[in-house]
């Protein structure tokens, strides 16, 4: 092969968009480097118990796709890795990828989990929104793929040089623990780059009126997802801080919409999904939806809203809301354009956070030489009707890295980017 041509494509981010792009490229015979910064892959979807509008089991939906990635000889999945540098132009990009030391062999480990218990260090589990603890050697949640743990060098006493602890190594029957692993730099050549870095979440503490972090039993949407997930910290038993199940729950929509200046397009739907979760677990619980605009675009979403209403969920229009603690209860002052505020008392509040761009986008924008909009999302060439392309030839942006989207929209954009990449050669 000519030195300046290659058959490789770099995909950054292994969520729904990145996975779909990689599988299609691999099928077309491309060699794909799929780089994911987390030690596990699958994106945000693996945090959900079910997905709207068909209340399908999320893991069952994505796990077969993940297996396909793991088994595809044309895809080199690099978890716990980041893209450090990209030089060159379409057809011939030189990419530097840092594979961070995992300290556990991806080849030898069979994922039996025997190493967790002996580890003496416990720390907050970010994947579980800090609702549970993990060890310094961990997989983020049961079922995470690849089913191989990682050691956090900031907490492992041995890797910090505090002591000579070898509890995990002693418990491993497969010689999978490798304390001397080092970060590796990998240089690869690719013809094109697909960016699929997903979304971040609105920082609710920036809006004190919601009482988040101050009022007990006020949860973010992702905390609630994990509180309902069968593989989550409570094994799916949604409990309040005191250990009891909630009897009345308010789900507040559009948290961050005003501040961010756009509608995220998915929060209404996931909020209805939450009501359905709650009504399934606690049929007698009162569930309130504090909505502003029902965003149910397309042929099948409004039906989901109706189904939610039919389950006895109350919908309350709101323009603004204030959340305050009131003993063991939570008091809501709801402003909805009438003279007098409506008052509600509940024992759980769920805040439907807006999606925002991920923080790592700005670093990546510099590395790739692509543009971000004023909200941090990558800019695609919509004006010239190329919604998956950037101004830089050979670099494509898909999914929520470009704008908030639902899963099928992200997948379609990933497929569109693949079309563009495969048209290059």
């Amino acid at each position: 092969m000519d030195e300046n041509t290659n058959n490789n494509v770099l995909v950054i981010g292994a969520g729904m968009g990145g996975i779909q792009a990689s599988l299609l490229l691999a099928e077309a015979g491309k060699q794909v480097y799929l780089v994911e910064k987390e030690p596990l892959f699958g994106g945000n979807v693996i945090k959900y118990e079910e997905v709207f509008p068909n209340m399908e089991c999320s893991t069952c939906m994505i796990a077969p796709k993940q297996q396909e990635v793991l088994q595809n000889p044309n895809i080199e999945l690099m978890t716990h890795s980041i893209v450090e540098d990209v030089q060159g132009s379409v057809g011939n990009f030189s990419v530097k990828i840092k594979k961070k030391a995992r300290y556990v062999s991806l080849v030898n480990c069979i994922g039996c989990g025997a190493c967790y218990d002996p580890c003496p260090v416990s720390l907050d589990n970010e994947f579980e929104q800090n609702l549970s603890q993990k060890k310094a050697i961990y997989i983020p949640c049961p079922g995470a793929l690849p089913n191989v743990p990682v050691i956090d060098p900031e907490y492992c006493t041995r890797l910090k040089g505090v002591d000579e602890c070898s509890a995990c190594k002693d418990s491993c029957m497969f010689e999978a623990i490798e304390y001397d692993q080092k970060d590796e730099i990998l240089d690869v050549k690719v013809t094109a780059v697909i960016v699929a870095t997903g979304f971040g979440l609105f920082d609710i503490t920036a809006a004190p009126k919601y009482g988040y972090g101050k009022v007990k039993n006020v949860y973010s949407a992702f905390e609630f997802e994990r509180l309902f997930a069968k593989n989550g910290p409570t094994e799916g038993n949604t409990v309040l801080k005191g250990g009891e199940n909630p009897n009345s729950i308010a789900i507040i929509h559009c948290v961050g919409r005003k501040e961010l200046g756009y509608c995220s397009g998915v929060c209404c739907m996931y909020s209805y999904k939450f009501s359905q979760y709650l009504k399934h677990s606690f049929p007698d619980a009162k569930v309130f939806q504090l909505y502003s605009d029902m965003c149910v675009p397309g042929k099948s979403y409004q039906k989901f809203y109706k189904q939610t209403m039919d389950k006895g969920v109350d919908f309350i229009y709101h323009e603004d809301v204030e959340v305050k603690g009131n003993g063991s209860k939570i008091k809501l002052n709801v402003k909805n354009g009438k003279d007098k505020d409506q008052e509600l008392e509940v024992d759980m509040v769920i805040l439907a956070q807006s999606l925002k761009s991920t923080e790592s986008n700005s670093e990546l924008a510099k590395i790739l030489g692509i543009e971000q909009d004023d909200k941090g999302f990558f800019v695609s060439m919509t004006e010239s009707f190329e919604p998956a392309s950037t101004a830089k030839p050979g670099i494509y942006v898909v999914g929520c890295s470009e704008a908030p989207k639902d899963v099928p929209q992200s997948i379609a954009q990933a497929e569109a980017a693949v079309g563009k990449v495969l048209a290059l050669t």
Binding site: A28, G261, Q409, A417, A423
Partner: protein, 563 residues
């Protein structure tokens, strides 16, 4: 030659080794008929383990191999490759999951061991009925039929063009361009440069790899992925049709508008100067002047959102932005005209939409949130009565009203769906292959549906979908490359088939047809995915999904349950 079955139990380190008494398993399994060897290994998936298996199969002359190990999801492919390396058919391997389903779920070693023995026995009894299967390769035609010459069809046809691929773009009307080209002024005002569409149409017309067939209908599409036979007919004529073969079909047949006349509360066609978005668009295309029936310029205009949403049961996604665009158009060209937007929920879900809404408010457009509306009065004194969310009644007097009708499926959609053997959504639009995972595919391999043919879509979403279908076709249907259909497909035993055709109804994929001459159902192996629906529904037990026959399943269950 009689069967020689080898059974291998993987210790998986301590995972199975310590949780299950493997010696007991070997003792229980060894006496079973046709079992030649039963052995254990530390880790069968390792390099050592795989070499060990290859040697065993060769040295012992094994015909079938049963593996008591982890989930087949983990290593079935690994072991199928081992079989190939050892020179036996890869489908004569059965992985029995004694790790996740036995070792990992019981604390009691006896119970785990007992269950593992039953499961391995079941695996042995089922594998006796396995037949060697061969992967097939079929030639595939790389050409593509694009059905519909609107925004989606134009984008797909042009994007699909490659030197070794021909695209047939079939449009039933006389021109390419579809609905977007009818609203050039409005869409330009919304920021869409329709000149680009015209450029694309020019490129299509001059591209020798694209055959454009306007004023043409597709009469039939018969076949399967890689090999669809298409016949077309010029609209309104009997002769002059064409026949050609394509490997894939992209349906981009667009949408239609909800008939506002069917809902009297909008006053449409009863009160003069009540328009649809369409009428309004046409009016400004013609003269760029806003005129009432009296010939005068209107002083106040009501823009009524969500026309037919209640009746249709869904939100049409684009009307909010279209209506705001109309509001802006009026305010920009005629700042003196009063504009009221009567909306219910605002659908502003693209990242720049909300900003547009805020700007529209700043321009002085009066937004009124309502939950019900009625257009009454008469020309010159149109009365808009509405109900607010709080239940209060409100009234507006205007001299022009524009109502946004919802989007509905294009006429003829059921016929196209029937011809292509793809299902429709309850709303009458085409149904995507999977609402989450397969947004532009269908249940039929090689048939894609893009744009508003599958439901209301914005301009950009439509383009993305057209490009997505292109991506899938470039990935799945590569010129010169053969396609591999599913191996474990259904077989119909003709002698047993009574021709009741129950199986035709339950097949998701349209893989079964009825042979009138023989009076039996026939499976097209190129389409069948081996789901087994047909076998389950067959009252005569005439259908046998390969490796999932009733006998196999029966033997497996009996052994799994036998003490």
């Amino acid at each position: 030659m009689s069967d020689k079955i080898g059974v291998y139990v993987c210790e998986c380190g301590p995972n199975i080794g310590e949780a299950i008494d493997i010696d007991k398993v070997i003792e229980a399994i060894s006496p079973i008929e046709d079992v030649a060897v039963v052995r254990r290994h530390k880790l069968l998936c390792s390099g050592d383990g795989q070499n060990f298996l290859v040697d065993e199969i060769k040295n012992e002359g094994l015909t079938h191999v049963v593996l008591g190990a982890c989930s087949p999801k983990d290593h079935e492919i690994t072991f199928m490759n081992v079989a190939t390396r050892a020179g036996i058919n890869p489908y004569l391997i059965q992985v029995v999951n004694i790790r996740e389903q036995c070792a990992w779920i019981f604390k009691d070693k006896d119970i785990a061991t007992k269950k593992a023995i039953k499961y391995i026995r079941a695996g042995i009894e089922r594998i006796k009925y396995h037949k060697p299967l061969q992967k097939k390769e079929l030639d595939a035609n790389p050409d593509v039929l694009v059905l519909g010459g609107g925004l989606a069809g134009i984008e797909a046809a042009l994007a699909l063009t490659q030197t070794d691929r021909k695209v047939y773009l079939v449009e039933k009307s006389a021109d390419l361009g579809g609905s977007v080209m009818k609203f050039e002024k409005l869409l330009s005002h919304q920021g869409f440069n329709l000149g680009l569409i015209k450029e694309k149409v020019d490129k299509i017309n001059s591209n020798e790899n694209i055959e454009v067939l306007t004023s043409t209908n597709v009469e039939s599409v018969i076949g399967f992925f890689g090999n669809f036979e298409v016949t077309t007919k010029p609209a309104g004529e009997e002769a002059g049709g064409k026949s050609f073969i394509v490997g894939a079909v992209v349906v981009a047949s667009g949408y239609n508008w909800f008939d506002l006349e069917s809902t009297p509360r909008y006053g449409y066609k009863k009160i003069e100067d009540v328009f649809t978005i369409n009428d309004f668009g046409r009016m400004i295309e013609e003269s760029e002047k806003l005129k009432l029936s009296t010939g005068k310029e209107p002083k106040s205009i009501a823009l009524v959102h969500c026309g037919g949403r209640k009746e249709l049961g869904y939100c049409s996604r684009v009307c909010c932005m279209q209506m705001m665009n109309i509001g802006n158009y009026i305010k920009d060209k005629y700042p003196g005209i009063e504009v009221h937007e009567l909306h219910s929920d605002l659908c502003v879900s693209s990242k720049n939409d909300q900003k547009y809404y805020e700007k529209s408010k700043e321009k002085g457009i009066n937004f009124i949130r309502m939950k019900g509306v009625e257009v009454g009065g008469k020309a010159g004194a149109i009365s808009i009565e509405y109900t607010t969310l709080a239940g209060d009644k409100g009234k507006l007097a205007v001299d022009m009203a524009v109502v946004a009708p919802g989007m509905i499926p294009e006429a003829g959609t059921p016929q196209v769906a029937d011809m292509l053997n793809v299902p429709l959504h309850p709303t009458g639009f085409f149904k995507e292959g999977h609402e989450k995972l397969n947004p532009v595919g269908t249940t039929m391999d090689g048939i894609y549906v893009v744009g508003c043919a599958q439901g209301p879509k914005s301009f950009m979403e439509t383009l993305i979908q057209a490009q997505a279908a292109t991506g899938k076709i470039f990935s799945h249907l590569i010129p010169g490359k053969k396609i591999e259909p599913e191996v474990k497909v259904s077989e119909i035993i003709e002698a047993f088939c009574t021709g009741c055709q129950t199986c035709l109804d339950v097949c998701f994929y349209g893989a079964i047809t009825y042979d009138e001459d023989k009076g039996v159902s026939v499976v097209n192996e190129a389409i069948c995915r081996g789901c087994g629906n047909c076998a389950g529904s067959c009252p005569s037990d005439a259908i046998r999904p390969k490796h999932f026959t009733t006998t196999q399943l029966y033997q497996e269950v009996v052994e799994a349950l036998r003490e």
